[in-house]
Amino acid sequence: MDDLLLSKIRLGVIAELLTAKWVAFSALQRATGTTNGNLGAHLSKLVEAGYVGEEKTFVNRRPQTRYRLTETGRQAFVAHVREMQALLAQESAS
């Protein structure tokens, strides 16, 4: 399994980005229900791994950071979900 996606918050971030073209930091924070610092740290890891793209912009003169899922992130997410499903199928078969 993908070590990076074993974290529930990072997996939640990827799932949130999966259905969106992009999502602002504030909206991701609401969706995951975590603190600024905690989410920032998780996002840094995802950006570093190339799973998530980051774009900084200004809205009404205030900085806004937006995130989008990259193709690498999408493939990693799909593979991770398949492995979790396989684990569950194995569990129910035994």
Binding site: L11, A24, V59
Partner: protein, 196 residues
Amino acid sequence: MEASEAREHLEMVDAIIRAGESPAWASRQLGVTLVLFGLGAGLLDLAYQVGTGALPSYLLYGGFAALGAGLLYLAWWLLVARRSAERISMAQVRAGRVMGAVWWSVTVAAFCQPHLFSLWSAAAIWSLGAAIAQLVNGFFGERRGLAGGAILLGSMLVANYAPSVTGYALAAGFFFGYAGVGILYLAGAGAADDCG
């Protein structure tokens, strides 16, 4: 990872995707756009029906004013949404592309008047475009859009089989199937906002 943990993670992913991927699109901004375009197009249909000689200027100018306001509002909406929205869903992107493709095609077809399309067929092209745009949103799950598309298609049938009231029928299609649906979007409790 334990199976129970995997189940918990998968349930969370499922819940997030369900919440994030609302396939239908019914925001306040879409409502305003539908109202302005519906009124504008409907007034122009009425103008051509009522005016047997000189077209009634109040209907004509009212129609063009509403369409112009609709275009300006649409431009503002796209600009603000792109800059300030906190989230743009893939459903919005898809619906926007389909609606854009429909309206570009209809606009090009409108320029084929009068060589390809005469008066009422040119007017009906706009009704057809509006019906397709509404039905697309309807097929993504927005029932009000489905109803609007059905009304617009119905208005074309009436317009064809009752030639004495063609303009009234097409106008009614736009008033109820487009502007009316826009009002329903605006009146809907907790209408979504595309502009963050």
